[in-house]
């Protein structure tokens, strides 16, 4: 039985990787996803955050770092920086998973928004310090706003479609420990 549940975690990890690959792949397609010049929300970031706050055991830190490093490389961002910031933000949220478990969606949304804003600011700050070229301020703020706005949608999709939910009281993990 333990083996089956262990496989369950791995299956969810594989599902996450597949979705991440699909999102990166869609970014790479030569169809204009941004429409009329507006930035596209960072769905991958929302998905990672929401998933992490529900089932942190599904997403180990190296996987998150690797996925965002690949995204950095493929989307021609400065490699490593955004992955590092996402890793820091996700670890910050992972530590507060027990808190988030108790609060409702609105507060969780505010918390995640705060983390995302901090990540974006840190990103711009570091890029400014090392004097690397960066995206225009208005565009990155717009992207941040879109990303924050789409977070509840991603949560709903996770909850109802992918069935990744906050652990109920008394639920146990694959090794039989209390979550």
């Amino acid at each position: 039985m333990n083996e089956a549940l262990r496989l369950d975690t791995l299956a969810f990890l594989a599902l996450y990787l597949c979705i991440a690959a699909a999102i990166v792949f869609l970014r790479l397609l030569p169809i204009d996803m941004s429409g009329n010049g507006l930035p596209w929300p960072d769905i991958l970031l929302c998905l990672t955050m929401a998933w992490l706050l529900r089932r942190p055991a599904h997403l180990p830190a190296p996987v998150i770092g690797l996925v965002f490093l690949v995204e950095d490389l493929v989307t021609l961002r400065p490699p490593g920086l955004w992955a590092l910031l996402v890793l820091a933000g996700s670890e910050f949220l992972r530590r507060r998973q027990s808190v988030v478990r108790e609060i409702n969606l609105a507060l969780e949304w505010a918390m995640v928004a705060g983390v995302m804003i901090a990540m974006t600011l840190a990103n711009r700050l570091v890029l400014a310090i090392v004097m690397a070229p960066q995206a225009p301020l208005d565009l990155s703020l717009l992207k941040l706003a879109f990303t924050v706005a789409i977070y509840p949608v991603v949560v709903l999709v996770l909850h109802f479609v992918l069935r990744v939910r906050k652990p109920a009281t008394g639920e146990v993990d694959e090794l039989g420990r209390k979550l």
Binding site: L28, G65, P78, P79, L81, L87, R177
Partner: protein, 315 residues
């Protein structure tokens, strides 16, 4: 901070911290390396993209197909509009067609009023084919017009469409026409649009040969063949037929005249072309009354030709 996972093994937290620290260091180092030695990291990035992206080719095919289908669907949605548009255009075209027909009739009326003869020299005598006097080796017919009607040897004979042959032998009331397919028939022609001159020589087959084409590369099957006035036998510009490529890969001519149904033939009265007999002579100055001045020698001036004066010109 309260931690619910108190039941995890003792070694888990340090290992997790170690892994996290390594990750942070690696990512930060990568970023710093990119900042310091950008070309090297960019090369690595391009190599990575190169290895990952081409394997996405197969994924692009359904997506491009879907995009095309969406475009097609859009065009289907517009089909009603297009139909209306085409109907409108058709209406306009009908109006133009009506206008063209009226203009054509008017043009015919005006030509009639002005009594225009397109080529006054090309009058013709029409005769009826009396007998197909041919044999497997002679392709000729007899027509019921002859010397009595002014037929002269060598005149061109046409049916309604194109050149059929020429008169060869005139009797009192009949004459013989040898067709283009006869082995004795040689007709100078011009090929259009390449403008080359050639010779049609009959070889008893339904498609006479096209010979002496200078540049056969410029001639294509389907080119028009019209008669040429070389040799002064035929009036130029009569339709002969079109070039075809025979089964023996030689250029041949499909005559426009319908040899299967030769009933009425037109004999074109053509005058013999003017011949220029004299070679050019010296251009001399004219005297006052318009006659050319004959140069004379001055009796005193040795060999020097005297300036031509009106007085000295009379001899």
């Amino acid at each position: 901070m309260p931690n619910d996972r108190l039941n995890e093994a003792d070694y888990v937290r340090p290992v997790r911290r170690l892994v996290l620290a390594v990750l942070v260091i690696v990512l930060g180092a990568l970023f710093l390396l990119w900042r310091i030695d950008s070309p090297r990291v960019e090369r690595f990035r391009m190599a990575f993209v190169d290895t990952v992206v081409p394997s996405m080719d197969w994924a692009m095919a359904p997506i491009t197909q879907a995009t095309r289908m969406i475009d097609d669907f859009r065009s289907y949605a517009r089909i009603y509009e297009q139909n209306q548009e085409l109907r409108r255009e058709l209406q306009q075209m009908r109006a133009w067609r009506e206008a063209a027909l009226q203009l054509e009739q008017r043009n015919a009326q005006l030509l009639d009023l002005a009594q225009v003869r397109l080529d006054p020299r090309l009058t013709h005598v029409t005769g009826v084919v009396m007998a197909d006097a041919g044999s497997p080796y002679r392709k000729s017919v007899l027509i019921n017009v002859g010397e009595r009607d002014g037929i002269v040897d060598g005149w061109a004979v046409m049916d309604g469409l194109g050149l059929a042959g020429r008169i060869a032998g005139v009797g009192q009331r009949s004459s013989r026409v040898i067709l283009l397919t006869d082995t004795n028939s040689r007709v100078p022609v011009m090929l259009q649009p390449s403008g080359q001159r050639a010779l049609i020589s009959g070889d008893n087959s339904p498609l006479p040969l096209l010979e002496f084409v200078e540049e056969a590369e410029d001639v294509r099957p389907g080119d028009r063949v019209v008669s040429a006035s070389d040799g002064g036998v035929f009036p130029p510009g009569l339709l002969v037929g079109e070039v075809v490529l025979g089964t023996d890969r030689r250029l041949r001519v499909q005559p426009a005249a319908d040899y299967g149904r030769l009933d009425f033939l037109r004999v074109l009265r053509s005058r013999p072309a003017e011949r220029i007999e004299h070679s050019g002579s010296l251009l001399r100055p004219l005297s006052l009354d318009g006659t050319p001045v004959t140069p004379t020698r001055d009796p005193e001036g040795g060999d020097d030709p005297a300036p031509a004066t009106p007085g000295a010109a009379d001899e």
